[in-house]
Amino acid sequence: MRIELEKRAGASTLYSILSPFIALGLTVIAGGIMFAMLGKDPVSALYSFFVEPLLDIWSLHEIAIKAAPLILIGVGLAVCYRSNNWNIGAEGQFIAGAIMGSILPVTFYDWHSPLLLPLMMIMGMIGGALYAAVPAFLKAHMNTNEILTSLMLVYIAQLFLDWLVRGPWRSPDGLNFPITRDFVPEAVLPELISSGRANLGFAFAIIAAVLLWLMMRYTLKGFEITVLGQSERAGRFAGFSSRRMIWFSMLLSGALAGLAGIAEVSGAINKLQPIISPGYGFTAIIVAFLGRLNPLGVIVAGLLLALTYVGGEAVQLTLSVSDKVTRVFQGLLLFFVLSCDTLILYKIRIVFAGRTAEDGAN
């Protein structure tokens, strides 16, 4: 007996729309089972995980803060994945952007100027793009697998940041803690509204998502991305270059991840430290897929995943469960999203020994 995936004749429109919601429902159910096995009441645990954070102004701001990098990175990745380039190293590009963008506030500590913030953001984007240029170059010219190279570069970026804040960039007034000096007020992203901490990074995320949605929907560039993503050969026939697309998609997603990095450092942390991201770059992969690789869908998915971070912190405090709960939820969600998507296009068939799929070849 073996299990086969058989392609369906056509994808149901209804289930294509419902799929993310079914995946979310299954995640909640599986999460409830997990809480029960941990000996907690699943209903109240799920309530404090998913609902409570939405009832409080403070945690709504926290959700916006966490959603900003997820959406910024997620829309870049969505476009990148649509073009059939698989940038898995957004976490590294996030860090590279944070480092590059922090050069001015850290090394020219005393510079106060309204120019400082825009320059930091631009340099952050350049940093992320440059870091993504490495796997782009390797793929475009050496035919290297970008999944591996971009992923490996993440660890290099993490260790480089660690070295920076322990060595050359360590704050002289930091009591030997591995942190840089706090940024001057001119280097801090302003708050969005006066009621809480959420900063301009969230606005960047929404603007980027809308712009990329317009690009994908209405322009030839978006069309080029779609065509090359579905068939490189047809793209070549259309006169599009898949090599240039590697560069475009990697640099775009790298720049957005870099912007997310510097916006996070400038807006939420106000300095560099060894760990500046709870895995935003990886979680954004889930965001991109949960948003169906559609920039507007990514906004919704980003907010949802931000909720899992905030909810995870909440249950950590109220129920004293491990902080790994957040990761488990994110993993469950990605698993169910991908399996639901697969089952839209394929059906499962159990083949018993003796029967053969003779005409399958045609």
């Binding site: 209405y218 322009t219 030839l220 560039k221 069309f223 779609t226 065509v227 579905q230 068939s231 050969r233 047809a234 070549r236 026939f237 259309a238 006169g239 053969t356 003779e358 005409d359 070849a361 045609n362």
Partner: protein, 524 residues
């Protein structure tokens, strides 16, 4: 009928009235075939003649619609390749199924009983490969091996199962002449041991050299069973391409204009191990002409299309000329802007993206050439979907494209209707040069004649049309000039009126009629 009356007991494998239908299309239609022990039996035929379908049924990959397979006189049902192997039939496919990252021995082990140890397999494979003159290092990684060596793995893998009948599908199509000679020695050894070989080929020279008997297929039917050594290449070719006289129609106008498409000593190296290198291709197509290039698949047709379309530009600017300008180094977009249109062979994933609607597939081919109509917003390149949909409707009407809905995904159309749209997409621009590869491959008769008529009409209106095709009926219907491509070389073009099927068949099989040319081809 002597072949059929031959006593059943002495045939190793016989096939009676074997038929395979795909929908209403008969890929194999009542095939009779008989293979005796210890003979090398050739299966001859053009592409699409049904050779592959037949052997897939013999090897259990496809199930016959009707008919009987007899093994040593007993009816058998071969339900899977595993069953075929247990029966005693082994097959070496044209395209190998090897894992490049694994060693020779590991690749062989994959197809055998998992209980046998790798060391034992390696040892047996080494012995076997020595005995049959197929030197192989079991520890070598497949990625490091040549195409000929990879084929040896497949042969050794087959031989390890001790088959009585070995099917070889176009084995020499990927080999150098020297490697082919070695293969022939191996085949002679197998024959001497009393094993039978079913040898699929379209190369008459080889068949005459090594095969004892031949069965010829055409359009899914047996058109001849003979001793190839008693035949002439001409008579074999006639059986392959058919002897009916076609209604030759001089398609273009008599008044020929200036040269619009030209290739001068076009050389292209093979990009992949399975590709064919183009050697010194020279061709000219004038205004009003339809040049048809005949040839058996895999002789460089798609490589020629790639070079002429500019999907893969070549190093010499003057190797390809459109309207008198050197375009060899330019890409497909630049060539389109000079008024050329292109229709590649593969509809899905090359000429069209199956998942995208027809209107998007129109933009695919014409985003640059019709920039003014289809795009707005300058550098932003905003697609004007209203204009695009209008043009899609116009093309669908002009070519009678039958579809469900206004703008369905390209993949939902039947092959014929999608092909009509793809050809219509180019005709709609009134291109002055049109290059088409296999214009009616897998297309129903009605759509095919519509497409051919459109090509003829385009030439009549003063454009230059180049048609690459394997279908001789089609070639005689549309061509004003005919040339034949073989092993990456193009014959001179002959006026269509003077051509016969026999002459084309000879040129296809590699008989250029010029001894020095053959030697040159084999000297590399």
């Amino acid at each position: 009928m002597t072949a059929n009356e031959m006593s059943r007991s002495d045939a190793l494998l016989s096939v009676r009235k074997l038929t395979k239908l795909f929908g209403s299309f008969a890929a194999c239609d009542g095939i009779d075939l008989e293979i005796r022990p210890g003979e090398i039996h050739a299966l001859l035929g053009e592409n699409g003649a049904g050779k592959s379908t037949l052997v897939k049924m013999l090897f259990g990959v496809l199930a016959p619609t009707s008919g009987q397979i007899l093994w040593k006189g007993e009816p058998v049902r071969i339900a899977s390749p595993g069953a075929a192997r247990r029966t005693g039939i082994g097959m070496v496919f044209q395209h190998f199924s090897l894992f490049e990252a694994l060693t020779v021995a590991e690749n062989i082990a994959l197809s055998l009983d998992p209980r046998i140890s790798l060391a034992k397999i390696a040892e047996e494979a080494a012995v076997l490969s020595r005995n049959y003159g197929l030197p192989l290092d079991p520890k070598a990684h497949v990625a490091d091996l040549s195409v000929g060596e990879r084929q040896r793995i497949e042969i050794v893998r087959t031989l390890l199962q001790n088959p009585e009948l070995i099917i070889l599908d176009e084995p020499t199509s990927v080999l150098t002449p020297q490697e082919a000679d070695r293969l022939f020695e191996t085949l002679a050894k197998l024959k001497a041991e009393g094993r039978s070989v079913l040898y699929i080929s379209h190369r008459l020279e080889e068949v005459q050299r090594i095969c004892d008997r031949a069965t010829v297929l055409r359009h899914g039917k047996v058109t001849g069973a003979c001793d190839p050594r008693a035949e002439t290449p001409a008579s074999l070719a006639r059986m392959m391409v058919g002897s009916e006289v076609a209604n030759v129609t001089a398609a273009g106008t008599n008044a020929k204009g200036g040269v619009l498409l030209e290739a001068r000593n076009l050389n292209v190296a093979a990009r992949t191990p399975f590709a064919t290198a183009l050697k010194n291709i020279c061709l000219t197509v004038r205004s009003g002409e339809v040049l048809a290039i005949a040839g058996v698949a895999g002789n460089g047709q798609s490589e020629l299309f790639d070079a002429l379309s500019g999907e893969y530009p070549v190093a010499d600017a003057d190797a390809v000329r459109i309207s008198g300008k050197n375009v060899g180094t330019l890409g497909i977009t630049a060539r389109r802007l000079m008024g050329a249109g292109f229709v590649p062979e593969e509809r899905h994933g090359h000429a069209a993206v199956p998942g995208l609607p027809l209107s998007d597939n129109l933009v695919l081919a014409r985003s640059k050439s019709d920039r003014k109509v289809f795009l707005a917003g300058g550098i932003l390149g905003i697609i004007r979907y209203v204009a695009v949909r209008l043009a899609t409707k116009r093309i669908s009407a002009a070519m009678d494209v039958r579809k469900s809905g206004d703008d369905p995904p390209a993949g939902s159309l039947s092959g014929g209707n999608l092909q009509k749209f793809i050809v219509g997409r180019e005709l709609d621009r009134q291109p002055n040069v049109l290059i088409v590869n296999q214009p009616t491959w897998g297309v129903d008769a009605g759509a095919a004649s519509r497409i051919r008529q459109a090509l003829v009409d385009l030439a009549k209106s003063g454009s230059a049309v180049l048609v690459i095709s394997q279908d001789l009926d089609e070639i005689f219907e549309v061509a004003t000039e005919i040339a034949v491509i073989n092993e990456g070389q193009l014959s001179p073009a002959y006026p269509a009126q003077g051509m016969t099927r026999e002459k084309i068949g000879l040129l296809m099989g590699g008989f250029h009629g010029k001894a020095e040319e053959r030697e040159a081809a084999h000297a590399h």
